[in-house]
Amino acid sequence: LGACRVSMSMAEIRAGFAAIKANIQSRDPVRSLSILSHPHSLHKVKSSDRCCIAHHLFTFYVDKVFRHCRTEDSFVNRKISSIANSFLSARRKLGQCREQNNCVCGEESTEKFKQILANYEGLNVTSAAMKSLGELDILLDWMEKSR
C-alpha cells in the first residue's frame, strides 16, 4: 500500500466475509447506492496516498461500521467479530507504518474519504453500516490490487 507493507491475514478476512456476505447484503435494501464506490472508485487513488487512505478506511470500519452490524444470528456475529478484530490489528500496523513513513493524505484522497463519509452519513446508521460491511470485498479487492 504505497510505502506501507503491512502483513495482514487477507485470506482469513476474505474467508470470514465470504461466509456472511449473502446474509449481510440481503439486509441492504438500497442496492443502487454505494458507500465506497460513489462517485469514484477506490482504484483511482494515487499510489502515494494509498497507505493513508487505507488507514482512514480501516478506522472508518472499526469506529463506525462494525459496531452497528450486530445481528440476531450468532454465526454472523462471530464472523463480524473476527473481521473487526483483524481490522483492528491491521489498523494498528498501518498506523505505525504511517508514522514511520510519514504518509500524508493528498488533497484528492482526502476528498475521496470525505465523500465516503458523506455517503455513509446520508443513510440511517444501521443501513449505512450494513451497506458498508456488504461492500467489504470492494475494499479487500482494492487492497490486494494495491500490493
Binding site: S7, S9, A11, E12, G16, V62, D63, F66, R67, S74, F75, N77, R78, S81, S82, A84, N85, S86, F87, L88, S89
Partner: protein
C-alpha cells in the same frame, strides 16, 4: 431458593499449531448433568463494543469441558474467554481466563516429513498442518553443509521434488513450519538423509 452453582475453575487455553482449545474443570453435582456455555471477547469488543461478549454456539449448553475456539480466535489480538455452568435454570457466575490470549502465543511444532530417494530424485512429503502454514525446506549434499539450498512451500502439495542427485551420493533434508499471520516459525525437524541410487552404467 435457587441452588448455588459454583463457577467453573482451572480455565485454561491449550494452543498448538494454531489450533486453540479452552478447557476447564467439571462442576460436580451428584446425580445431575451440568452443562456449560462459552463466550469470547476480542480487543475489538473490549475497546469498541462496550466490552461485549460473543457466544460460541457450538459450546452453548454443552456437557463437554473443552471447547474448540480456533474459528473464533481468528485475529492476532488479545482475547479473553469465559465459561459458566448451568443446571436446569440455575446458572453459575462466569469463570474467566486469567490474562489475555493472543494466537501469537501458540506453540509451533516442527513439521513431519518423509524424505525419499526415488532413483536419482530427492523427494520430500510434508504433513499438512492447516491453512495458516508455510514450510521452509533446507537440503544439501552430505559433506557440503556450506552449500545448503532452500525451497519455500506456501501450501502443502503431495510430494515435492527437491533435486536430482548425483549417483550414490547422500543428501540430507530438514524443514520448519512458518505462520505468516503471527510471523513465527517452528524449530527445524530432525535431519533426514537418503542415498541416491548408485550408477548402473556398465563398463564395456
Amino acid at each position: 431458593g435457587d441452588a448455588f452453582l459454583p463457577a467453573p475453575q482451572s480455565i485454561s487455553i491449550l494452543s498448538t499449531n494454531m489450533k486453540h482449545f479452552l478447557t476447564w474443570s467439571p462442576v460436580i453435582v451428584q446425580g445431575a448433568t451440568v452443562r456449560y456455555s462459552v463466550e469470547f471477547q476480542g480487543e475489538y469488543e473490549r475497546e469498541y463494543a462496550n466490552g461485549s461478549w460473543v457466544p460460541i454456539s457450538e459450546c452453548s449448553l454443552t456437557t463437554a469441558t473443552v471447547c474448540n475456539i480456533t474459528e473464533d480466535i481468528s485475529a492476532t489480538v488479545a482475547y479473553k474467554l469465559r465459561v459458566r455452568a448451568q443446571l436446569g435454570t440455575t446458572r453459575s457466575q462466569w469463570g474467566t481466563t486469567k490474562g489475555f490470549f493472543n494466537r501469537a502465543m501458540t506453540s509451533l511444532t516442527p513439521p513431519l516429513l518423509m524424505v525419499v530417494a526415488d532413483g536419482h530424485h530427492l523427494l520430500v512429503e510434508l504433513a499438512d498442518m492447516g491453512p495458516s502454514f508455510q514450510f521452509r525446506v533446507l537440503y544439501w549434499k552430505k559433506g557440503q553443509e556450506s552449500r545448503v539450498q532452500q525451497k519455500v512451500l506456501k501450501e502443502v502439495s503431495s510430494v515435492l521434488h527437491l533435486d536430482t542427485m548425483e549417483a550414490g551420493a547422500e543428501y540430507c533434508v530438514k524443514a520448519q513450519a512458518h505462520v505468516e499471520a503471527i510471523n513465527r516459525s517452528s524449530s527445524f525437524s530432525p535431519t533426514q538423509c537418503v542415498r541416491a541410487q548408485g550408477d548402473k552404467s556398465m563398463w564395456l
